[in-house]
C-alpha cells in the first residue's frame, strides 16, 4: 500500500494501528409539543481513545430538513429544531465523527421523544352562575362547564375543549360561597316592633329597601325567612315575641324588601 505522495521518497508498506475506541453512544431526550428546539451535548457520553475532533461532527440524518440542526464545534452543543406543528412521537437524528487520529466513529442516534403536553380541567369562566334556590340567590356561585388547559403554562387548550361541570365527574368543581359576586337574596331578619295595644294604625316604613339582610348562615337575629312577593308574614310568638303581625312586601322578588310595621288594635 502506498503510504505517501508528493515526496521524492515514496514509501509502500503497512503499519499496525494502536488499538482504539471511537464509539458514538446513543442519546435519548424527551420534550413536548410546545418546545421549538432542544439543545444537548451529544458527544459528552461518547468514547474515544484519542479524543474527538469536534470539527468533524457530521449529521447523517436530520430531524427537520427545513431547519437543520445546528452544531457548535466550540462548546459541543447541538441544537435540534423540531418541525413546525410536531406531533407526539419519536424523532431520530443520526451523527458520527472522527477522532483526532482520523478514525471514523459508528453512527449514533439521538432519539427525541415528543410527548403531548400535560392538561387538566378547570372552570370555564363564561359559564359562571349564582346558585339559586327557590328563585333566590343562596350566596354560592358555581360554573356550569369546565375547560381543558395546559398544566405547564396554564394556557387554555386551543381549540377550546369544554365539558359539563357535573357532580360525580372527577374534575367536578363544587359551588363556593361567593358573597362578592352572588350575594344572598335579602331576608327579613330584624326586630319587628309591635304594639301591645293591638289595633292597626297606619303602617309605617321601618326599613328602607336593602337596609338589612343577612344570610341563612349568618342570621341577623332569630329569623331569617324568605318572603314571596306581597306575602304577609306572621311572626310566631316565640323568643319573647308576642304574635304580632308584621307585613312585609316584596317589591321586587328576591331583591328588594320593604318592611313595614303595622300596628293592630286587638
Amino acid at each position: 500500500m502506498q503510504l505517501n505522495k508528493n515526496n521524492f521518497l515514496r514509501w509502500e508498506g503497512s503499519f499496525n494501528e494502536a488499538s482504539f475506541t471511537a464509539e458514538a453512544v446513543n442519546d435519548d431526550l424527551q420534550t413536548d409539543t410546545k418546545v421549538k428546539e432542544v439543545t444537548l451535548q451529544p458527544l459528552a457520553n461518547d468514547i474515544s481513545t484519542y479524543g474527538i475532533d469536534y470539527s468533524t461532527f457530521e449529521i447523517t440524518q436530520q430531524v427537520n430538513t427545513d431547519k437543520p440542526a445546528s452544531w457548535n464545534p466550540i462548546n459541543g452543543n447541538l441544537t435540534i429544531f423540531l418541525p413546525e406543528g410536531v406531533q407526539p412521537g419519536v424523532l431520530n437524528l443520526r451523527y458520527r465523527w472522527e477522532d483526532l487520529n482520523q478514525n471514523l466513529s459508528n453512527e449514533a442516534t439521538i432519539a427525541v421523544t415528543v410527548i403531548a403536553r400535560a392538561t387538566g380541567w378547570r372552570v370555564h369562566p363564561p359559564s359562571f352562575v349564582c346558585v339559586m334556590e327557590g328563585g333566590v340567590r343562596t350566596g354560592y356561585s358555581r360554573y356550569n362547564s369546565l375547560q381543558r388547559y395546559y398544566l405547564d403554562d396554564s394556557t387554555t387548550v386551543s381549540p377550546l375543549e369544554t365539558k359539563g361541570n357535573d357532580a360525580g365527574d372527577p374534575d367536578y368543581v363544587a359551588p363556593v360561597l361567593d358573597h362578592a359576586n352572588c350575594p344572598v337574596t335579602e331576608y327579613v331578619s330584624h326586630n319587628l316592633s309591635f304594639s301591645p295595644d293591638g289595633y292597626e294604625s297606619a303602617c309605617q316604613m321601618l326599613f328602607p329597601a336593602s337596609s338589612y339582610y343577612t344570610s341563612k348562615d349568618q342570621p341577623y337575629l332569630t329569623y331569617g325567612v324568605t318572603l314571596a312577593s306581597n306575602q304577609a308574614l306572621t311572626l310566631p310568638a316565640a323568643d319573647g315575641w308576642y304574635g304580632n303581625l308584621a307585613q312585609a312586601f316584596r317589591v321586587a322578588s328576591g331583591t328588594i324588601i320593604e318592611v313595614r310595621q303595622c300596628n293592630f288594635i286587638p
Partner: protein, 263 residues
C-alpha cells in the same frame, strides 16, 4: 489511472545520495500512523532482499495528534558501493519489514550534476507537518541552470533643470531557468510539490518560483525533464536592506539583484 502509451524506455527516477553527505527525509503519510512498535523500528538500506546497512540512522517520530505520528530522519548517508538500493523500515523485534522506499541511488556524483536541495514551508503542506517542527527536506537532485535573464521594472522621468534621467522607481530581478533531469511521474509530482514550498534553497541560495513547473514529455520515455523559472531570491529570511545614497533611499536585496529606489 490511465496507462501511458508508447513507452519504450521504462526507466524510473532513483533518488540520488552521496556518501558522507547529510540528508533528511520526512514520511508525509497520507494518514499519520499509530503503530505502537516504533521503538523496534530501524532504518535499513537493502538491495532487494540483501541487507546492506542494518541501522543506517535513527528514526524519529513527529507526533501529529495524540499518539499518531509521522516518521522523519536526519542522517549521513553511509559509505557504501555505488548502485541502486532502497530504504527499508524494519521491525527488528518482530523481524518484519514495515515499509520500503522507492529506489535510491548511491553515487559519488563524478560529473557534479547534483545540487543540494533544502526546502520547507511556513505552514503545513501536502501532509508535511511543518508548523509544529523545524524540519527541512534535504535531498540531492540533478538540477541545472540553463538560462539567465534580468527583469526590470523602472519608472523614470527627465529632470527639466539638468536634462538628466532620474529614477522614480527601479526594480530588477534575476530570473533563471532550471531543469531537473530525468524524473519519472512520481518524481515530477514531488518536484512540483517542492516548488510550492515557501523556502527553497539550492546549494545554499534561496530561489522563488516564478511560474509553473513544466514537464518536457517525450512520449517514448517514462522519464522526462522538468523545467521552471526561478527568481534568485535573497538569502535567509531578511530579504532586503535599506541603503542611503545620493539619489535617496534604496531598498536593495542582500544578493544585490533587486532594488527599489525611493526619492
Amino acid at each position: 489511472m490511465i496507462k501511458k502509451g508508447y513507452i519504450k524506455d521504462n526507466r524510473s527516477f532513483n533518488v540520488p545520495y552521496i556518501p558522507g553527505e547529510n540528508y533528511t527525509f520526512y514520511i508525509n503519510f497520507d494518514k499519520p500512523i499509530s503503530d505502537p512498535d516504533f521503538a523496534d523500528f530501524v532504518l535499513q538500506i537493502r538491495r532487494g532482499d540483501e541487507l546492506v546497512v542494518d541501522n543506517a540512522a535513527t528514526l524519529q517520530r513527529h507526533f501529529i495528534r495524540n499518539i499518531s505520528y509521522n516518521i522523519y530522519c536526519e542522517f549521513i548517508f553511509p559509505a557504501i558501493p555505488e548502485g541502486c538500493y532502497q530504504f527499508v523500515i524494519y521491525d527488528k523485534v518482530k523481524q518484519i519489514e514495515k515499509c520500503r522506499s522507492n529506489s535510491i541511488e548511491c553515487t559519488n556524483d563524478p560529473f557534479g550534476v547534483l545540487a543540494k536541495v533544502e526546502y520547507r514551508n511556513k505552514s503545513d503542506l501536502y501532509e508535511f507537518q511543518y508548523e509544529s517542527n523545524v524540519f527541512h527536506n534535504i535531498f540531492s537532485l540533478p538540477i541545472f541552470q540553463v538560462d539567465l535573464q534580468f527583469e526590470t521594472d523602472r519608472k523614470q522621468y527627465r529632470n527639466v533643470s539638468d536634462r538628466r534621467i532620474r529614477n522614480l522607481r527601479s526594480f530588477r530581478d534575476k530570473v533563471i531557468t532550471a531543469e531537473l533531469y530525468w524524473l519519472d511521474d512520481d518524481a515530477h509530482e514531488a518536484a512540483s510539490a517542492m516548488f510550492m514550498h515557501s523556502d527553497i534553497k539550492f546549494n545554499g541560495t534561496y530561489y522563488e518560483p516564478k511560474g509553473a513547473y513544466e514537464i518536457e514529455t517525450v512520449v517514448l520515455l517514462n522519464i522526462a525533464k522538468g523545467r521552471i523559472e526561478l527568481y534568485v531570491a535573497a538569502t535567509g529570511s531578511t530579504l532586503n536592506v535599506l541603503v542611503w545614497s545620493q539619489d535617496g533611499f534604496n531598498i536593495v536585496s542582500q544578493n544585490g539583484f533587486n532594488m527599489i529606489q525611493i526619492r
